[in-house]
Amino acid sequence: MPEPYQHEDGQEDEERVVDADNVVERDGWTVVPVRGDLDFYSAPMFAESVRSLAAPGPRRVVLDLADVEFMDSTGLRLLLGVSRDLREAGGALRLAGPGDLVLRLLEVTQVAPLLPAFPDVTSACSD
């Protein structure tokens, strides 16, 4: 699939970082599909979307990253912030289906203990 990288035409990307129409509840977890690239460009929109989805109470959230091909340090910092906020509220954040690049990012930054990653949504919602 070609990447929507054209920075002259960013509106489309902004609106679809979090696929809010397809959020589902599963085994006590709120599963949030994320699409496109989670980077310096999209991170502000992403943060707002995820925080609003996770706002009420101690939520347990799974971010489905199967369709995320690129993530940078800005995206990672936001995930860590969301994870901390959820933990402090008695909830939790898990990542489902991260690709090779996201796994590499988690590995080199040594944050895997803070952002548990699972191969897919089913395993992420397993307990």
Binding site: H7, F70, R104, L105
Partner: protein
């Protein structure tokens, strides 16, 4: 614009969207048939990550446009980003730590080098071709 067949140069406007243009051009450059034979997928992935961090750093901290160059050398892929900021990495005032970006670049490359140039600086980092 190619200085030589093994060098990619991309002029960027410095907006947040520059990071995507930079990665797209780098992806195309590395995916060229003659280069994929030399550049392993893991190396290409690391180069994209380094490009994303260095361009984002330039867009975040330096005013105006910046220039990305990516060169395939004999044993590395060399990434350089020139911007108009002072010859120091990170925020002009040290109110916040540099964060994960430069740490990631340091882990994926042989090291980060900052060279002052007229009107700004160049930040260079090389991703090894093997390992």
């Amino acid at each position: 614009m190619h200085k030589t067949p093994e060098t990619l140069v991309v002029e960027l406007d410095g907006s947040a969207g520059s990071v995507r243009g930079a990665r797209q051009e780098t992806h195309r450059f590395l995916a060229d048939a003659e280069r994929t034979a030399r550049i392993a997928p893991d190396t290409a992935r690391d180069v994209l990550m380094v490009v994303g961090e260095l361009v984002a750093n330039a867009c975040r901290h330096a005013p105006g446009p910046c220039r990305l160059s990516v060169e395939v050398a004999s044993d590395s892929v060399d990434v350089a980003v020139q911007d108009s900021g002072s010859s120091r990495l990170g925020p002009a005032r040290r109110r916040q730590p540099p964060g994960y970006g430069l740490w990631i670049v340091a882990r994926l490359t042989k090291g980060i080098h900052v060279l002052p140039v007229p009107g700004g600086k160049v930040v260079r980092a090389s991703v090894p071709l093997a390992g």
